[in-house]
Structure formats: C-alpha cells, structure tokens
C-alpha cells in the first residue's frame, strides 16, 4: 500500500533463486562458469554487494565454488543436490499451502486429488 516493492523478497534471495533455477535447468552446467559479480549486478540492476551476498549463499551451500583469479563455477553434483533439496521442500513449499488454500475455499481432499489426477484441465 505504501510502495510497490514493499513485501518483495529481499534482492539477495532473488539472486540466489535465479542462480538455483539456472543450475537446475542446466543453463549453468556443472563445472561451468557462472557470470561474474559485475555481470550479475549489471544484468539485474542491483548493487554488486547484493549480488555477492546471493552468490555467497550458494557458496555456503556448496553449490558454487570460487577459483582464484578465474571466477566462480558450478560445483559438481550441484544439480542433483538442488533437486534433492527441492524434493524435500516440496511438501512444505507446495503441498501444505495447497491444502491450506483448498480448505479456505472449501475443497475436500478428494476434490483436490481428483483435480490433480485430471491434470488441472479445469477451466
């Protein structure tokens, strides 16, 4: 209500997510180089310190490593580990909110299951 980027996720987390998606989709392959901090900051139009913060989160999680003088690279096995993490979070991240929302709207579990089986062709 006050400003339109109120309520948005912090930028450095958005950077983290951006890189996660790129690794998962194979856009940044394992052992391949990811863009430099400057490139990320320019492309996303954010302060390099913010970009660095986001990248460092991935470094801490062991998904990305830095090679001195050369840049930053996707760690081997990063893709699988990300998928693993995503799988673990799937329930809390998607299923629970789905069920909560369904309950709010008055859908039963059976109705939800039916929708899932029918692949969401409902208009």
């Amino acid at each position: 209500m006050f400003g339109s980027n109120d309520g948005e996720r912090p930028l450095f987390l958005q950077v983290e997510t951006l890189l996660e998606e790129a690794i998962l989709s194979g856009a940044y392959p394992e052992e391949g180089q990811i863009p430099s901090i400057t490139e990320l900051s320019v492309s996303c139009k954010i302060n390099p310190a913010t970009a660095l913060k986001g990248v460092n989160l991935l470094v801490e999680r062991g998904l990305v490593y830095k090679k001195r003088g050369l840049g930053m690279f996707v760690a081997p096995g990063a893709r699988e580990r990300l998928q693993e993490e995503r799988r673990r979070q799937f329930f809390a991240g998607y299923i629970q909110p789905l069920l909560a929302e369904a309950e709010k709207l008055g859908f039963t579990r059976e109705m939800v299951a039916k929708m899932i089986w029918e692949g969401g062709d409902e208009a």
Binding site: S4, E8, P10
Partner: protein, 285 residues
Amino acid sequence: MMQLVNISKSFGRVQALSGVSLTLEGTGIYGLLGNNGAGKTTLLNILTSRIFPDGGSLTLDGQPMLDRDEALSQIFMMGELNLYPEDMRVRRALEITGYMYPRFRMEEALALGERFGLNLKSRITALSTGYRSIFRIVTALSVHTPYLLLDEPVLGLDARHRDLFYKLLLESYGNDPRCILLSTHLIQEAEPLIEEAVILQAGRILRQGSVEKLLSGAYQLSGPAGLVDNFLGSRKPLAQTSLGGLKTVYLEGARPQSCPAGLEISPAGLQGYFIALMEEEESKC
C-alpha cells in the same frame, strides 16, 4: 574517508541544513534520499566547496576539505547546474575535464556518449534536458575519482536511457569500485543499487545506515482495523492507511517472531519506509 560533522547552512531565513553529520568511506554506492527541497543539493554543494557551510567541519582523510585542491581533486560532482562556459561544446568540455582530472578517460567518455547517442558537436546549453543529463553522466562515469557525486542523474531521461544509465553505472562501479553517492528523489528506482542510505528531510538526517539494517527494523502490518489497533496498543505507527475495515500500518522496531492471528506482516521496501517516515515527520508539525 570523507567526514562531515555537524554541518549547518542557512540562506536568509531558510535553514537548509542543520546538524548534518555523515561519513563516506571506502567503496560503495550510497543513496542520498529526500524530497525536493530537503537539502540534498545544498549538501552536495558544500561537499564540493561550491558553497561554504555556516558551521561544522569537513575533512577528507583527516585533512580539512573546504576549497583545498588536494581534496577537491579526489571528488567529482555532476549537478543540475552547468558550470561549463555558455558556448562550450560537449567534446571540448570533455577535453577540459581531461586536462583537470588526470584519471579521466576520453575514449571511455566517447564510447559512453555513443551508447546514448550524445552529439559531441553540440553546445552544452543547446542540449535537451535529457541529453544534458547524459552529458553529465558520460563525464561523471569517465572521471574515476575516489568519490563521485551524482545529483539527480536521471533528470529528463526516458525509460530506455534510465535503464542504460543504471547498467552503465554498475558496470563502471564493478570495473572501478569507488565511493559513489547518488542523490535522488526516485527512491524506488535507486533502492536496488544502493547499499547505504542517508535520508534527508528539511535539512536534517532522519535515518542513515545500510539499507538492509534500516529495512530490517521496519515492517508493514495489515488486517482488520480492530486487531491492528489491539496489536499496536499504545505504540504509534510511523504511518497508517485504511481501506474500509482493512488497516495497514508501518512500524519501526523488531519484527514479531510469530505473526499474530488474523494479521499479515510484510517486509518494508525503501520507498514505503521513506514515505512512512515523511508522514511521521508531517504529523509532528
């Protein structure tokens, strides 16, 4: 390190600045944020010795700064005022800045000018508002002094050029990290770029610090008016709005660990926080 202590300045009966203390150091992109008339340009003019403060001190690395070449040569400011001679052409102005600032890169300035489509042969005073800003931007990004002050850099720029400017600014900063102070009233646009904010209102610094810390100490709360008021108790919010029975308040303080039932908490954005601060200031008058 640039240090200002207790700077004050008045013009006749108008107190443009009072008790302004500020430190700029190392590398980073700072935002000097405030409405028109808050005193931003006055502060920048004092930083560059264009005008003299009534009181307070300015030092650069411990040495007094006012009207000293050693300090001034480490700072470059581009403001709205064109200080180049009336009939000077863009190219000549760039040349002269090159004479005066040894680290100025002419090739870089020309390349940047080309990116924006700046006409080098034009007289500066014949440029449109937007292209005057572009001329300023091109000069500023090519100077490479340890301190760079940009006063309303995107004045008159269309969306495409604004976008280009932000990208070029970040690129320039990435290649040559320095201390950049961006003075603007376009808070939402500036937010992603700045690490530290100095919020100026009516000549005083309202808040300053890292954007992250400032925003982590503020939040929005919304929900049914009754619940919100309950939660607030005797606390006064920075600002509040109501839409029918739905009330939203802006609060400063630590975010509650768990969200009270029926209420929704959302993080603060810099513009919203700024507007809320302004509302609080106004309510004080």
